[in-house]
Symmetry: C2
Subunit: 122 residues, 2 copies
DNA sequence: AGATCTAGTTGACGTTGCTATCTAGTCGAT
DNA sequence: ATCGACTAGATAGCAACGTCAACTAGATCT
């Protein structure tokens, strides 16, 4: 089922804070190099739905400003030029450290939520 | 190790968005009833560090305004009065639905981050 | 009286994802 | 030739919410 209820959709925009940049870095790490429009598609396929350009492009600009990615313009394949991004060494460090932190955090939250649901499910 | 690096501490404030309210509801569900100051302690023990009153109290006010919790003043045990909160039926519904959504979300993010880290660890 | 712990409130602030709108290149159909 | 449709990116304004900082206030102990 692709359609999610509104409550979840509303919450996703909050859940993405502090995580979307990591997801972008991770995608860049996997893909080697990519550009904004394609990143939206990749993340959508990975289950991060409804991402819009107004979210991704400023984010990529922030990442570049912080030195976590570098960019280069290239011609598009039947379309406008594309701004390709590559993760930097600094970006990889941040990704590794932050991803570990997030894994811990999400596990802690998971146990808080899971504990309540199993004990209170009745 | 209790001390976390600054990067993770900074990120936690973002990671809490859209999740902290669920964590509070879940804690309330587990505890049956509790009050702000004690909730901070409970969540700290559960691994959500550095929560401040300026975060919890406005959050509880929002939850009450939305009808997800109800409150009642009672005398404190050697200290000022306490405002006890209890989760409502609506709160339980929201908790169950949203917790399920969060579990899905965090799994998706986990696989995006995990995929990149294992493939890109080299 | 002062200090400390408990307990709660409030206003200002900053980050960041979202909305909406804009420019612009390519291509197919009418 | 023109009109969408798709690709690709930029940006101004908005709103939500966790944090910071400062405050009130009760209880207890020295």
């Amino acid at each position: 089922m692709v359609t999610e209820d509104r409550a979840t959709a509303d919450r996703q925009t909050q859940w993405l804070r502090g995580v979307l940049d990591l997801a972008v870095l991770a995608t860049l790490q996997s893909a080697g190099t990519s550009y904004g429009y394609a990143l939206i598609q990749s993340l959508t396929e990975a289950g991060i739905l409804d991402l819009k350009g107004g979210t991704i492009y400023p984010l990529l600009a922030r990442l570049e400003q912080e030195g976590l990615v570098s960019s280069e313009w290239r011609a598009g394949h039947g379309g406008p030029g594309r701004k390709y991004f590559t993760i930097t060494a600094t970006g990889r460090e941040v990704l590794i450290r932050s991803a570990a932190g997030w894994t811990d955090f999400s596990a802690r939250i998971g146990s808080i939520l899971g504990g309540a649901l199993s004990r209170g499910g009745r």
